[in-house]
Structure formats: structure tokens, C-alpha cells
């Protein structure tokens, strides 16, 4: 097959590209330029858009012996990922930009361009597996390396996208093994640190970055009953479940800590309450997709596990389609769920599908 290896400049995608070559494919390395301002060398290797990352990717491609190009997706990235991130936060939601990038850039804009230019598939360094069932249907599964598993951020992939995706690291038992392989292959990036933060916020200061773009105005912090208990410096800086950074003058009568329960950008209010009020009995979203075959009758409740963050534990649940929403009911309450997050639904190791969370139902009614 003609395979486009997306090369970020990190160790995982470099090893993935090398493995695709060894699997017998005709491979071309492509680095995605996602920013018009790729920064300086000093900003280092924190994300996917620095000059240093591009050079690292190129050196790995040189060693593998494959052609290498930089493709510019900066305009689409700005519209679909960065602007979306700002809009979601402005609406009081907590988006996952990496997921959005997979959904709209890597496995959409890049994949479509690759197919149009004559490639058969896109390979990435994600830790996830594609399994083909007895009837030839492709399924997305967790990686063998559970600790590094990235199937969550790929939960947005559809059947068509999976048909043209390749994850050569899926069966690798650990990241250490990938690093060792990279060192053996002579890749300069073998010991390059992992990127953690949001790539378009190079200094990692998400709140400061957002404040510059959405503005920060002082507002009121209220408890669940509506009583003002303090002030804040801009609602966008808060995330559901957050405890730190709340300046509340009025202590709770019982002295117990308070947590952010809700962010209301329309009125610039933050609602706080006790930890148990974060317990969520039900989540639902109208923007959902199936990663491969959908359940036979998705309108009937089916057993599954739900995961609401990239590295949180999956929780047993039932799910079903109801009135155009994927509704997920965990057996135990979920803690700290924010609208805008993605709920990925698993059956065993298989990713069944996902939805963006629009609404949540608290397990604890107000004023118990």
C-alpha cells in the first residue's frame, strides 16, 4: 500500500513510520504545519508546531530513508481546532482539542488530501489497535500498552476513517520498548520528552491564553442555592470539578471544601458546591458517532463501559440512543463531568463510539 506516515517530530510517529516501511509499504513522511508562527527554537519541543519538531521529523525520515514533506494545514487547524477551542470555552464547555484535531485534521483534512493524491492510508504513532472481525469489519481497540492507550482520543473515528488508518504501535507492550527501538534505529528523538500540553499554547498557560482571547471579567461565585459566596476573575478559567483557585470569602458552615459544579459564561457566574454534588448519574450528547459497526439496535439499552477523559478509568454503564441523543447511564456515579468533554463508549477493549457531552444529570438533588 501507499502509506502516508504523519510525523510530528516525536518518537512514536518516527517508529510508526519505520515499522510501516518494514511491513512492506511504500511510505512517505509528512509533517503537518499547524501554525503560521512556528515559533523559535527556544520554544522547544512542546507540541506539534515548532521548527525543531519539523527538523526532528525530517531527520527521522532521513534515517528511515523515506521522502519527507511538510503540508500546511494551519488555516484549517485555526478554524477547526483553535477557534473551536475558544468558542467552546466561551460557552462554558471543556473541549478536548487533541480529539478535535484527530476528528477534523489528521483523519479528515490530511486523510482526504492523502487519498486524493493517491495514498491508500495514513499511519500515525497513536497507541491503539485496529482489529478486523471475521466478516472483515474494522474495529478500533485499545492498545496493548494500557498505560499509553490512546484509543480514547481516536474515539471520533468513523468506519470510513478507520478503513484508511494504520496504527503500527498498537501491539507494542510499552512506551519504553518504542524508545528502545528508536534508539536502536538511531533516531535522535529516542529520548525526546513526551508532549503533554496543548500544542498551540506553548507555555502551557491555558488560562492566560484564554483570558487574552475571550477577555476576563470579574464575576460572582454562587452556591447551589444561588447565594453569592465569592468573586472570580473570569468564568472561562474554571473547569467543572476544580477545587484549587477558588477565592471564596464565605466558608461553608461545616468547613468542607467546595468544588466548581457549573460554569455559566452567559452570566459570568461560577457555581460551587460539595464534592458529592459532582456525582453525575447520567450524561447525554447529540453529537455522536460509531467507530465501526453500530450496535444492532442502538435504541435498546446495551451494556458498555464509559470513559470521559483520556486517562480516566472506564466505568460500567448502559447506553442507548434516545430522542437523537446518545444517553449513557453509569452504574456508579461519574465524578466531575463537564459539558464539552467526550464520552467514549467501550465494549471490552473495543471502542464502540462516542458523544460530545451536552448535558449531565446530577446524582444529588439540590438542598438534600
Amino acid at each position: 500500500m501507499k502509506v502516508l506516515a504523519a510525523m510530528s517530530g516525536g518518537v512514536d510517529s518516527a517508529v510508526a513510520a519505520a515499522r510501516a516501511v518494514e511491513a512492506g509499504h511504500e511510505v512517505v513522511g509528512v509533517h503537518l504545519a499547524l501554525s503560521r508562527m512556528p515559533g523559535t527554537l527556544r520554544t522547544g519541543s512542546r507540541g506539534c508546531c515548532t521548527i525543531e519538531d519539523s527538523m526532528d521529523a525530517q531527520r527521522a525520515a532521513n534515517i528511515i530513508g523515506i521522502p519527507y514533506y511538510v503540508w500546511d494545514f494551519s488555516e484549517r487547524f485555526k478554524l477547526d481546532v483553535v477557534d473551536d477551542f475558544i468558542a467552546e470555552y466561551s460557552a462554558g464547555r471543556t473541549p478536548n482539542p487533541c480529539m478535535r484535531c484527530n476528528e477534523r485534521i489528521k483523519f479528515a483534512a490530511l486523510l482526504e488530501k492523502a487519498l486524493d493524491l493517491g495514498f491508500d492510508a495514513v499511519a500515525t504513532g497513536h497507541y491503539a489497535s485496529i482489529v478486523t472481525d471475521a466478516r472483515g469489519n474494522r474495529e478500533l481497540h485499545r492498545a496493548a500498552a494500557w498505560a499509553k492507550d490512546q484509543s480514547y482520543v481516536l474515539g471520533v473515528l468513523t468506519t470510513d476513517q478507520l478503513a484508511h488508518s494504520m496504527f503500527p504501535l498498537g501491539a507494542t507492550p510499552s512506551k519504553a520498548e518504542v524508545r528502545a527501538e528508536a534508539a536502536e534505529r538511531g533516531f535522535s528523538v529516542a529520548n525526546k520528552p513526551d508532549s503533554h500540553d496543548i500544542c498551540f499554547i506553548p507555555d502551557g498557560d491555558t488560562r492566560g491564553w484564554l483570558a487574552e482571547r475571550v477577555g476576563a471579567e470579574q464575576g460572582v461565585i454562587r452556591d447551589r442555592e444561588g447565594t453569592a459566596v465569592g468573586t472570580h476573575e473570569g468564568a472561562h478559567a474554571f473547569t467543572v470539578g476544580q477545587r484549587k483557585g477558588l477565592s471564596i470569602g464565605v466558608p461553608t458552615p461545616d468547613g468542607r471544601p467546595r468544588f466548581v459544579l457549573e460554569v455559566k459564561p452567559a452570566t459570568n457566574e461560577v457555581v460551587v458546591g460539595p464534592k458529592e454534588a459532582l456525582d453525575i448519574a447520567e450524561i447525554a450528547g447529540s453529537k455522536f458517532s460509531w467507530a465501526g459497526l453500530a450496535p444492532d439496535d442502538p435504541t435498546a439499552p446495551f451494556e458498555c463501559e464509559v470513559q470521559i477523559r483520556a486517562h480516566s478509568d472506564p466505568v460500567p454503564a448502559t447506553a442507548m440512543l434516545r430522542s437523537g441523543e446518545l444517553v449513557i447511564t453509569p452504574y456508579e456515579p461519574l465524578n466531575g463531568v463537564a459539558p464539552g468533554q467526550t464520552a467514549v463508549v467501550y465494549v471490552g477493549t473495543r471502542v464502540l463510539g462516542q458523544c460530545t457531552i451536552d448535558r449531565t444529570v446530577s446524582a444529588v438533588p439540590v438542598s438534600a
Partner: protein
């Protein structure tokens, strides 16, 4: 072997230049040393300077070797600006500060970034002179902008992307009325346009060796005796105190050999490509001046295509060409030259520069023309990189 049609980026070294370079690397002696071995190195260096000077109609003393075209441009533009700014004009009753730099739009980044740096850090005032649709400087606009407070005029002799030859003689004539020095970046023109520095009235002229079959890493600023520049590099005072540093005699010798071997006329090959592209892809638009263009340059835009898609597809088909625009970390940008010529961002995207040179054959041109229609068809299917994706593929 891939077909190489990117000679404007760099052209292969002439075998004679390689031979001279290799044997010169065996010479022992710093040209600045006083002993016989130093004198021998100096003799060979100065012979090389004479050859380069002769190829440009200049006197050897006017040739200042640099590390390449970019350094030559920096030395000319910054050096002339600093020298002129420190020496206010005497026209009229008042001494006018000379802070304005007149620059056509669509210049090479060596110039654009240098004048913008002077603007940010040294009080320069940049006036961008418009280009017409063919990439030629507007002479009326230049004439209107000239005055005693102008530090210098700087322009490309031939545009490095679209190949348009500028009316350098007219520019120098207009500038001379106000005694304003003119720097000409002749990197793309060198070897393709007759250059007679002595009769040109140009104050400073930049060239690069690797564009004419010499080695990388050496160029020259031809600096008229009458022109004064402040040096960028200070040290041992070599080369009229203008450019200190031990001189690279082997590179200069190889440069000198290349300068003695004028390029054959490339017009037939270039026109074979221009005619062939128009036939193969009727929607393609030739950019730059169709007549007053350097003999090695064919430049087209292909509607509906992204230049980097075309470049990629031709590369995998074994043909090396360029999008012509500047890259940072390989990130393509819409060409500021094409935008200055009045193209829209969309029109400017599908640009391809095909440049021929001394090793190019008819079959090279034909191999490119054979690969082009498929590349254009696929690139059109892929469209522009900012297109809406059809979600879910």
C-alpha cells in the same frame, strides 16, 4: 536520476570549477600572509577576483567576496543605509536626514527582511513601490517617491520567482537625478542578463557563485569606488576594510572559473517548457513578463491546485521543481511576489517555478511535461488545503 528543473535554487557546479576547487584546496597559505606561500594564495585569489570582475564589467578592486548573495545584499542595504544616514543630504537649504529606503514590492526575502529590520531597529522609513501585473516596478511611483532624503533604492535585476527583468537602467537614471545610490540584487540575473557594471551607474550589485556553476558559500558585492558602505563584519580589515575575515581563496578560485564560463542560451529550452505546459494544461497561466524574463525561468499558476501538492506529485514522479515561494521549516506561504502582482490568495496558491540550466536537456523538459497532466489532475482533486472537509470522509 531525477530530472532536475530547479536551477534557480542552485545549479550544478561546472566540472571545470570542481577541478579548480579541489586542486585549490591543496594550496597552503593565507592570502594575507607576507611570505611567499601567502603571496601565492593571494595571487590566485586576485586572479579569481579579476575573472569575476570581468564577468560583470567591473574593476577587480570593486569586487568584495562575501559568503553568498544574502550577505552581499545585507552588506549593501545596511551598509549603504548606515553610511547615508550618518551623512545627511545637502540638497536645498536644510540638511535633510536620509532615512527613506525605496523598495519595490515582491523583492527577495534577503532584501525584505533586511529593510524591515532597519525599519524596526534603525529608524529607516520603507516605501514600497508597486509592481504591475507582470511584476515590473512602477517607474512613475518610483519617480514620485525619490528625493534628497532617500538613503537608497534597492531592487532585483530579475525576480527570483517569476523571472521578470526590471528596467534597471531607468531606475538608475531616475535615482541619479537625486544622487541616490542604487543597489541591485543580481543573483537571479547573473549569467542570464548582460551586466556591465562600469556603464550602469549602479552603486552596489550582489551576485552569488552557486547560481552560475560555482560553489555554494561564496558570493560578491560589487561596490563602486564612489559608494561608501559601513561594514557588517569587523576584524582584520581585508577587502578594503569592507569585509573582514580570512579570504576563502579556493572558493573564490572556483567562482572565478565559473565566471569564465558563460551559460549557454537557455531560451529554447525554457520556451519548450512554456509551450508544452500551455498545451498540456490549457488552464495554466504564465506569470511574470512573457518577453522581458530571464532565459532560464518558466513560472505558472495552476488554478484549483495547491503548489505543494504539485511539487510533491512531481517529486514522486521523479521531477524536481519549486513552488518559488519562501519557506520556513518547509511551510509554504502564498507568494508575496504574486500577491504584489495583483493575484488573489487563491490564484497565488498553485504556483510552480520551473528553471532550466546548463545540464538541462530536451528530454528533461519532456519528462516534466509528461508527468504534469496527472499531477495537475490529482492536485485539483485534492484542492486547497483550507477547503472544508467532508466530515466522515
Amino acid at each position: 536520476m531525477p530530472v532536475y528543473l530547479d536551477h534557480a535554487a542552485t545549479t550544478p557546479m561546472l566540472p571545470e570549477a570542481i577541478d579548480a576547487y579541489v586542486s585549490a584546496l591543496g594550496i597552503v597559505g593565507n592570502p594575507s600572509s607576507i611570505h611567499s606561500q601567502g603571496q601565492n594564495a593571494k595571487r590566485m585569489l586576485e586572479e579569481a577576483r579579476e575573472h569575476v570582475a570581468a564577468s560583470l564589467g567591473a574593476e577587480p578592486i570593486e569586487v568584495v567576496f562575501t559568503s553568498g548573495g544574502t550577505e552581499a545584499v545585507n552588506l549593501a542595504v545596511k551598509g549603504l543605509y548606515w553610511a547615508r544616514a550618518a551623512d545627511p543630504g545637502r540638497n536645498g537649504s536644510e540638511r535633510a536626514p536620509r532615512s527613506r529606503i525605496l523598495v519595490p514590492r515582491g523583492e527577495h526575502h534577503a532584501t525584505v527582511d533586511t529593510v524591515e529590520w532597519l525599519e524596526r531597529h534603525h529608524g529607516a522609513v520603507i516605501e514600497w513601490i508597486p509592481l504591475d501585473a507582470l511584476g515590473r516596478i512602477s517607474l512613475p511611483a518610483l519617480e514620485a517617491a525619490l528625493g534628497p532624503d532617500v538613503a537608497l533604492v534597492t531592487l532585483l535585476w530579475a525576480n527570483n520567482e517569476v523571472g521578470t527583468i526590471q528596467p534597471v537602467t531607468d531606475v538608475v537614471r531616475l535615482a541619479a537625478r537625486h544622487e541616490v545610490p542604487v543597489h541591485v540584487d543580481a543573483v537571479s540575473a547573473y549569467g542570464h542578463v548582460p551586466i556591465d557594471f562600469a556603464s550602469s551607474g549602479i552603486a552596489a550589485l550582489s551576485v552569488s557563485a552557486h547560481k552560475i556553476g560555482g560553489p555554494l558559500g561564496i558570493g560578491a558585492l560589487v561596490l563602486a569606488r564612489s559608494a561608501t558602505v559601513e561594514p557588517l563584519i569587523h576584524g582584520g580589515g581585508q577587502q578594503r576594510q569592507v569585509r573582514s575575515g580570512t579570504q576563502d581563496a579556493p572558493a573564490a578560485i572556483a567562482f572565478g572559473v565559473a565566471a569564465q564560463h558563460p551559460s549557454p542560451s537557455l531560451t529554447m529550452l525554457r520556451d519548450r517548457i512554456i509551450t508544452g505546459v500551455r498545451k498540456a494544461v490549457p488552464s495554466a497561466v504564465l506569470r511574470g513578463d512573457p518577453v522581458d524574463r530571464v532565459d532560464n525561468n518558466a513560472h505558472f499558476t495552476f488554478p484549483g491546485c495547491e503548489g505543494d501538492s504539485l511539487l510533491f506529485l512531481l517529486d514522486v514522479a521523479g521531477v524536481s521543481v519549486s513552488t518559488g515561494s519562501a519557506c520556513q521549516a518547509g511551510i509554504p506561504e502564498a507568494s508575496h511576489v504574486l500577491l504584489a502582482m495583483g493575484l488573489s490568495e487563491a490564484e497565488a496558491r498553485g504556483a510552480l517555478r520551473i528553471t532550466v540550466g546548463h545540464t538541462t536537456t530536451d528530454s528533461d523538459a519532456d519528462a516534466f511535461l509528461a508527468a504534469l497532466p496527472t499531477a495537475v489532475a490529482l492536485a485539483q482533486r485534492a484542492g486547497y488545503s483550507d477547503r472544508e472537509v467532508t466530515a466522515g470522509a
